[in-house]
Amino acid sequence: MILRAEGLRKLYGEFCALDGVTLGVDAGEFVSIVGPNGAGKSTLINILTGVTRPSAGTVLFKGREVSGAGPARLARLGMARSFQLVQVFPDLTVEETLQAAVVARLGRATRLFSSLASDREVRAGALEVAELFGLADKRHVPARQLPQGDKKLLDVASAFALKPEIILLDEPTSGVSTADKTAIMDTLVAASKLIGLRAIVQVEHDMDIVFAYSHRIVALHQGKVLADAPPATILADRRVMDTIIGRDTARPRAPAC
């Protein structure tokens, strides 16, 4: 098992965002985390990626305790992530963005006097990812000038440029037109095979995407795991389906655990 979270709990004052979540991700898996707004998906992904420290519980990455380790350390250990709200470096070109990721992966981020322009390994690594994501012809364009779909792609591509073992994607297709969603997902899956990615975890709202690509679905509701099963099982469970696609008739969640 690459990633394992046990008994995760997160309190914000009296508010309980996560209440004893346990889940695991095996090598070769594509796991989707779903649930209505406020179910705790973003909190969970922020804890898994080391941004937020859990109030209780542990996160094990490759058998190592990493809760609250911070994203930089986790990135170096082999975990990458992308964001729900697209995160790019506005003034850097596509090429520079990907080069920065490759530089970080190769452990060259503190090289003061070596020339970036003559570092063939960095340039080739960045170009390889740019081509994989269809961004090669836009490599000299600053990120702020890219259309929204390409920004999203660049955000994901820079995570891939780290050649991680696992990648956590927070709504990889949000803010992207329906037509582009499948293209992004296909690119992503194809790229993951090429770079030897061992597992993908995504938070996603679009159920078509979730059911088309996932091996397993973890449904969260009110900070708890409602279901953790393959797509077919989830589809067959009326109660879970009603909850995750927002037909939940339950009353608003209680404020405390």
Binding site: A72, T97, A109
Partner: protein, 318 residues
């Protein structure tokens, strides 16, 4: 290519200045070259890392006082030793200051650097025995490359050997900084400037990079500060005063912090303009204040930005 040509022409013009310009103007080039070094360092922090320091006069003062102390109290006159010592003292003091400051960003970072600057200013003002208080400390004429030039008339020394020595130091400083900003480290600084959250998720140590950038900028400020001493022959606390920190931020904005040589141009224009305006009206700060307002509003990329703006598809921030 164009940058290369402009730099070659600029270097040639500076080298020719003592031969073609009046002594008065050639002498003005000395603080320009010293400030150019300071600003190359400051802009690593400002333009490339996105941190605006209002306390870098601390390091200018530190470099200048190191030189003054060595020549006056320690009997060391070699400028090579003075510059290396200034760099070392600058780095040593910068380390704890940076460790505290780089945990903060934006106005908090600026205010913290200002606070450290004020602490140092008070120190040099009050520790009379060591610093000479408000009278300052003499900066005796340094020897260059092991040659004592005490016999030479002061003006000849300053517009002759000292001038070209400063030019070489500036050249080396610019070359070093050019390498730094075009290195993997320099790229990582730009990612931190643009989006520290994203940089962190790529595995780039944001605090560590800011720390290094701060220390490097302090070394540059200390070296530039040490070069400011010999032309006046005296080092006083105004060098470390907070308005001096403001002046160098102004020079950077004036020239343009988005380009490599922008701050150098800013230093040049600032020094000559200041001298010119001061010779006409006593209220030069009024004129400069108005100018700063115009630049921020009309030319946020500074004077260099005005020139390069029309160039199509500008390849990022050089």
């Amino acid at each position: 290519m164009r940058t290369g040509l402009a730099v070659a022409l600029g270097a040639l013009a500076i080298a020719a200045a003592p031969l073609v310009a009046s002594t008065y103007h050639a002498l003005l080039m000395l603080p320009f070259m010293a400030y150019a070094i300071v600003l190359l360092g400051l802009n690593l922090l400002f333009g490339y890392t996105g941190l605006v320091s209002f306390g870098h006069a601390l390091f200018i003062g530190l470099g200048a006082y190191t030189g003054a102390f060595l020549t006056t109290h320690a009997g060391i006159r070699s400028l090579e030793v003075i510059l290396i010592s200034a760099a070392a003292v600058g780095a040593l003091v910068a380390m704890p200051v940076a460790a505290l400051c780089v945990r903060y960003v934006k106005i908090y970072f600026g205010m913290l650097t200002l606070a450290f600057g004020m602490v140092f200013y008070t120190f040099v003002l009050k520790f009379y025995r060591l610093t000479g208080g408000d009278e300052g400390t003499p900066f005796l004429r340094p020897s260059l490359l092991g040659r004592s030039l005490d016999a030479m008339p002061k003006i000849d020394y300053l517009v002759g050997p000292y001038y070209y020595y400063s030019l070489v130091v500036l050249g080396l400083a610019a070359l070093g900084m050019w390498r730094i900003v075009h290195s993997p480290f320099g790229l990582c600084l730009k990612t931190i400037r643009d989006n520290p959250v994203k940089a962190e998720t790529l595995g780039i140590g944001v605090t560590r990079h800011r720390f290094y950038a701060f220390v490097i900028s302090a070394i540059y400020a200390a070296v530039g500060g040490a070069l400011l001493g010999p032309p006046t022959g005296n080092v006083d606390p105004t060098l470390a005063y907070w308005t001096h920190s403001g002046n160098i931020v102004f020079m950077t904005l004036l020239g343009g912090f988005t380009s490599f040589f922008g701050p150098v141009v800013g230093a040049f224009v600032f020094i000559y303009l200041q001298n010119w305006v001061m010779s006409i009206v006593p209220y030069w700060r009024l004129i400069f204040g108005a100018m700063l307002a115009v630049i921020v509003i009309a030319a946020p990329d500074g004077l260099v930005g005005l020139v390069t703006r029309r160039r199509p598809a500008l390849a990022g921030r050089a």
